[in-house]
Amino acid sequence: MPDTHESCPRRNVTTSPAQALTLLNSELTLQWAQAFAGRVIETAKGHPGREVETAFRLAYSRPPDKAEKRMAEEFLESHRAILRQRAAASEELALPPKLPEKYDPARAATLVDFCHMLMNANEFVFIN
């Protein structure tokens, strides 16, 4: 992490693997993603088609464009297959704190991972 005790007019490289690892692998950011996904589900009120758009609006204050929608849908489908396998093997999933009744846990965990990556993405981390 950059040393924030030392003032600096400009840093030409501020990225380090430690930052990436923290944002990617810490329990804390995963918890944020779990809460974030919970809010997305609540806001989209059970309309799965609206969840991607809601997540983009909450994270970036804009709707996703066509390419992003496609990316998201592809991810949600292929990733859910991985999580179904995990669920079938009774492995623990990272879920939102609260889930509506009958909401598929593999689907919810997929949304958590999607939200987690939205928060790791450059658009979220950098101020433009």
């Binding site: 990225t15 990316m71 991985i82 995990r86 990272a94 993405a121 450059n122 950098f126």
Partner: protein
């Protein structure tokens, strides 16, 4: 930054300004001929890959450094710098001619205390080493013992900080950060500057391996020696391997899409690279620190089979593994968190720490040599200061930054030599005095860098690792 431009109001003003400007151009050219301005902006970082290997200023003698940090201040008087005069003056106060140094615990009026250790000359070089360090003594002919070191700080936090960063006040980059800034790294899958400790965190903590005003990429990484070595190397247990790869692929797609209309933004690309490095580290770091592949003989050599030596032995063995993998700078703290700080009972304290570190450090030298790594690896043994010739509380010794011993071995070091000396009672360095900045300049030199030319523009000033001083200790060079 906003360009500072004033409008020109008259022809005379134009000529006056342009004239000075042209003059300055010519002057800077002349300075350049003399080599004065050659140090400005001599390191160009590739923003996409700031760790890419960069050529040294001149051929390096050492490709890696293992810095053995004896934290707390080991007593030079009882390890490497015998003082027979202390036996003669035992129990008496310091002769007046030595003055009254201001010590950390106000002990300068206390009686002089001779060493209880037996010193012997070792190897062909005949270097004096006490009976506390028999394994290191076997390598006497590999050592360059510098008996004339001195530093600025009286207390631990400041002095440990200075040994690492050059300044007793925290905030400057650590030497390990400077070296990676200067040279990049040959191994792009592991951290470039690794810190390991045999106990609690060193005093002052991360300030000692901070990148300071240098880019954060050059900060040191504290390795834990139990379980995973780097924080957050692995995802939480709710995330599987295939799941993690699938997430990272989505992330890469999102980032690429976001960067499509911003082709020149190196920050975005650098961040993408840092995720890839993090992912590669996930694979490379556990392998680097996995000691299972080490033979029983090696484990025994480093003392992993004994409780007293196990901790120090583990970090020394890890240091060898990291150096084999071309990590440029590895620090091993022995007695981390002021272990060597023998205020009350020197015999008890140093017996324990010497026992804990002597076998592993001797093993490290032998192992590096056997693997042909000692020629390209600089090993540095140093505390933040030494200890006083007068006693504290009867059986202990106080801090002594005015004269103390460090040693170096391996890459480019003149083996089997003693450099400098302290006065007759070992209080102050008197000949070939080597300040911390001189030590840093020498380490950088062995790594192929001129400490005056390794600069970084910070707040309008070309900062360098040795601040405003530092001279090469030529006697150390082979």
């Amino acid at each position: 930054m906003t360009p500072h431009i004033l409008s020109v109001r008259s022809r005379r003003e134009f000529l006056q300004r342009a004239g000075c400007g042209f003059g300055a151009l010519a002057f800077s050219y002349l300075l350049g001929l003399d080599g004065f301005s050659s140090r400005a902006a001599n390191i160009k970082l590739d923003p996409l890959n700031p760790l890419a290997p960069r050529p040294p200023h001149f051929p390096a003698r050492a490709k890696s450094v293992i810095w053995l940090f004896m934290e707390g201040g080991p007593s030079h008087l009882d390890l490497f710098d015998p003082k027979p005069m202390l036996d003669k003056l035992a129990g008496q106060p310091m002769p007046e001619s030595f003055g009254q140094p201001l010590t950390a615990m106000g002990t300068a009026s206390n009686a002089l205390m001779p060493s209880k250790r037996t010193f012997k000359q070792h190897g062909q070089s005949g270097i004096w080493v006490s009976d506390w360090l028999p394994r290191i003594a076997e390598h006497a002919d590999d050592l360059c013992v510098i008996r004339s070191c001195w530093a600025d700080g009286l207390n631990h936090v400041g002095s440990v900080c200075q040994m690492n960063t050059g300044d007793v006040l925290a905030g400057r980059p650590a030497l390990g950060s400077w070296t990676t800034y200067g040279l990049g790294t040959a191994n792009q899958n592991l951290p470039t500057f690794v810190i390991m400790a045999d106990g609690a965190e060193p005093v002052g903590g991360p300030k000692n391996w901070s990148a300071g005003f240098l880019p954060a990429t050059f900060e040191g990484a504290l390795f834990r020696t139990d379980g995973t070595p780097i924080h957050y190397l692995d995802p939480p247990k709710t995330i599987g391997q295939a799941q993690q790869r699938s997430k990272l692929d989505l992330l890469a797609k999102l980032n690429k899409h976001f960067a499509m209309d911003k082709p020149d933004d190196t920050q975005l690309a650098a961040r993408l690279n840092s995720y890839e490095l993090a992912y590669r580290m996930q694979a490379a770091a556990p392998e680097a620190v996995d000691l299972k592949g080490e033979s029983e003989a090696t484990r025994k050599l480093y003392g992993l089979d004994e409780k007293e030596t196990e901790k120090c032995g583990t970090i020394c063995l890890l240091a060898r593994r990291l150096v084999e993998r071309r990590v440029p700078l590895v620090q091993c703290y022995s007695g981390s968190n002021s272990g060597w700080d023998a205020h009350e009972d020197l015999e008890k304290n140093h017996s324990k720490l010497c026992k804990a570190s002597d076998q592993p450090l001797g093993a490290l030298l032998a192992d590096l040599k056997a693997r042909g790594l000692l020629d390209s690896t600089l090993v540095v043994w140093a505390g933040e200061f030494g200890r006083t010739p007068f006693n504290e509380k009867g059986k202990g010794r106080d801090h002594n930054p005015w004269g103390f011993t460090i040693w170096m071995a391996g890459g480019g070091v003149k083996a089997g030599t003693v450099v400098g000396e302290t006065d007759e009672i070992g209080l102050r360095a008197i000949r070939n005095r080597a300040h911390v900045h001189d030590i840093h300049a020498t380490i950088l030199h062995l790594m192929g860098m001129d400490h005056e030319k390794l600069t970084y523009l910070h707040n309008g000033r070309d900062e360098r690792p040795t601040i405003n001083s530092g001279e090469l200790i030529k006697e150390v060079l082979a």
